[in-house]
């Protein structure tokens, strides 16, 4: 009887061929990974490139017209006096009403001084790469075209940028309003979606009988997670902004100066948007609690509710929280539904109640990138970095939470 397998030389050739195919596939997968890394790096580089670089500007009025002290050495009291003397009383009163002038910080007052009195006039901005590679060229160019201009390398992303509200001048604009708006938004969304989503997941996993009705509901929840976000925006517009206006505008509670386009409407819309995500993640977390634990509880005479409350939920909680954090990240980055439910694109007042008008980080970024002036593109890049850092922090905490929760049963 002959051996059905190839022998010696034939086997050697076959082995060589097998290794060749294996190496080929390995190379293909490696190049796929490289493409992914290159694209991500390009994205990061593009953002960072915009957020740092040269700016050339002139003072419309020389600072020496207001004070003899150099700008860097101005104290808070000096600035207060200068502002009071030189601003019109109407403008001063308006600023004072937004936030009493005496309570403002030195850097805040300095910004006001530069913005309102000295009035910076930006002549041009350059990206980080240009600034580093063609520094000399830029300096010569600026010196020739704008002999009075000051050219300096600046980071658009500064601590000041984080705590300054919106401004019509890019040099003085910040993301405080947008960051607070985003926080209000995800706060309302999660307060709304987490209890409802967890409750629905508990019912589906622990109580609902397995029949055609529950499987239809399950399929629909899975599909809802993939519905384009603009559709949720339309839903939010119809239901929260229009239909429930007395509630979402706060007029039920005696607030008269707003309409339905409030942070509450947007938060509820985001809540609906992340609800399927939260339900699915909570279901997975509940499924991961081993049945032996439920049986142990039932075995000592626990009711279904005692089993769920004392054993299933505490053990599923880290997983549920992980899902919620991922849902928050999703809500934080969503733009389309906010445009539909009416986020304001220019607003300098912090949201201070659910019935406030609001803006959010992605909206702010979108708005700034559509402006013609290059300095707005620079602050858009800085705002993108802020958003990405927020998202990365949230995702990292989700991973940490999940790792900590991996316990043995």
């Amino acid at each position: 009887m002959t051996n059905p397998y190839p022998q010696d030389e034939a086997f050697h050739r076959l082995t060589k061929l097998r290794y060749f195919v294996a190496n080929l596939w390995q190379a293909i997968f490696l190049s796929a990974l490289l493409i992914a890394i290159v694209s991500l790096t390009a994205l990061l580089y593009n953002v960072v490139d915009g957020a740092f670089g040269y700016i050339a500007y002139e003072y419309k009025k020389a600072p020496t017209e207001f004070t003899s002290t150099p700008i860097a050495e101005l104290t808070k009291d000096e600035l207060l006096v200068i502002l009071k003397e030189n601003l019109s009383s109407g403008a001063y009163g308006k600023l004072d009403k937004e936030q009493p002038m005496e309570e403002r910080s030195q850097s805040d007052l300095l910004s006001l001084f530069l913005e309102r009195l000295v009035r910076i006039d930006t002549k041009g901005t350059w990206s980080m790469t240009d600034s580093l590679m063609r520094g000399g060229e830029i300096r010569a160019d600026v010196a020739e075209k704008y002999p009075n201009a000051i050219l300096e390398f600046r980071s658009w992303l500064t601590p000041q940028f984080l705590v300054t509200p919106m401004s019509s001048r890019a040099e003085f604009a910040g993301v405080r309003t947008a960051v607070l708006g985003s926080l209000w938004l995800v706060g309302i969304a999660i307060l709304f979606a987490l209890p409802i989503g967890t409750g629905a997941a508990i019912y589906l996993q622990e109580y609902a009988p397995k029949n055609w009705l529950t499987s239809i509901i399950q399929t629909n929840i899975n599909n809802l997670a993939g519905v384009p976000s603009i559709v949720y925006g339309m839903l939010g517009l119809a239901v929260f902004v229009r239909l429930m206006e007395p509630f979402t505008s706060g007029s039920l509670f005696g607030i008269t100066d707003s309409n339905g386009r409030t942070v509450l409407s947007a938060g509820l819309t985001m809540g609906i948007l992340v609800l399927p995500l939260i339900i699915i993640n909570a279901q997975e977390a509940i499924k991961a609690v081993p049945d032996s634990l439920r049986q142990a509880a039932f075995g000592v005479g626990a009711t279904r509710w005692q089993t769920v409350w004392h054993h299933v939920l505490p053990n599923a909680l880290p997983g549920i929280l992980t899902g919620s954090i991922l849902a928050i990240s999703r809500a934080l980055g969503e733009t389309a539904p906010l445009i539909v439910v009416g986020a304001s694109t220019f607003i300098s007042l912090d949201p201070d109640s659910p019935f406030s008008k609001f803006t959010a980080l992605p909206i702010q970024i979108y708005q700034w990138t559509t402006r013609a002036q290059s300095e707005f593109h620079a602050i858009a890049a800085s705002a993108i970095i802020v958003l990405m850092v927020l998202l990365l922090t949230l995702n990292a905490s989700a991973i940490l939470l999940r790792n900590r929760a991996q316990r043995k049963y």
């Binding site: 009988p209 397995k210 081993p290 032996s292 634990l293 439920r294 049986q295 142990a296 509880a297 039932f298 075995g299 000592v300 005479g301 626990a302 009711t303 005692q306 004392h310 054993h311 053990n315 316990r407 043995k408 049963y409």
Partner: protein, 261 residues
């Protein structure tokens, strides 16, 4: 009641257990004596665990499972519509195949079952009593607040027994309680069972025939029915001695002598 008259703890009458339309266990009639150990033996897949779980209505959690016939405890059918399964499990405790302590401290493992059942007495005393009852007290008395997961498999299983006796059931069901344990831990569990039967009726499912012969007073031999329905039933039920030395049924003899199964 006469002295020689055996006292029964639980009995089944014409019991069938179905999964959907499939009768996993059919026509079981058993009278289980009080404060004795009854072993259920038989080959894999013949419905031993299913029968055991029917006694405290654990099968209720399997969708589409239902029972016909009766399981009577003090004259009350456990499957009567007015019977609450939670109360059944309160008076018929269960120890599972794999040790499944709660992911809590040793103390809380015992206290939790007592607490949810409205225990009003001294909890510290109950915990100590139950741990002594399960022959675990000396090993864990200094680390009651430690996680139950720090215990060895055998200790965990005894903790599960302690947890069960803490709620003072009448009957303890054991589903292959030693199959995941090493021989020394197994021996300790078997010794413990002899202690426990002074106060409790014990029904144990086991794969290990030597174990059944060592620990039990009565043995039920289960086997698939020969009519082709793949349903399990009790083919012989009598004193353990009889089953192992003088079985009436040829299939029992083949099984206990190792010629089959």
């Amino acid at each position: 009641m006469q002295n020689n008259q055996p006292e029964y703890s639980i009995e089944t009458k014409n019991l069938f257990i179905f999964y959907g339309t499939f009768p996993a266990v059919s026509e079981v009639n058993m009278k289980i004596e009080k404060q004795k150990i009854t072993a259920i033996i038989g080959p894999s897949g013949c419905g031993k665990s299913t029968l055991l779980r029917a006694f405290n209505r654990m099968n209720d959690f399997v969708p589409s499972s239902y029972v016909t016939g009766e399981i009577l405890m003090r004259g009350q059918n456990l499957y009567a519509p007015n019977v609450d399964p939670v109360q059944v499990r309160r008076s018929i405790g269960m120890v599972f195949q794999k040790p499944n302590p709660f992911p809590k401290s040793i103390y809380d493992n015992i206290a939790w079952g007592a607490k949810i059942n409205g225990f009003k007495g001294n909890m510290d005393e109950l915990v100590e009593e139950s741990l002594r009852g399960a022959a675990l007290w000396d090993e864990v008395k200094d680390k009651l607040k430690k996680s139950a997961y720090e215990l060895s498999g055998g200790q965990q299983q005894r903790l599960c027994i302690a947890r069960t006796i803490a709620i003072q059931p009448d009957i303890i069901l054991m589903d292959e309680p030693a199959s995941a344990l090493d021989p020394i831990s197994t021996l300790r569990i078997e010794e413990l069972m002899q202690e426990l039967k002074k106060n409790y009726t014990i029904i144990i499912v086991t794969h290990n025939m030597q174990q059944a012969a060592r620990v039990s007073d009565y043995t039920a031999m289960m086997m698939l029915t020969t009519d082709g329905s793949r349903s399990g039933t009790v083919i012989e039920f009598s004193e353990t001695k009889t089953i192992f030395t003088n079985p009436k049924d040829k299939r029992t003899e083949d099984y206990v002598t190792g010629r089959f199964g």
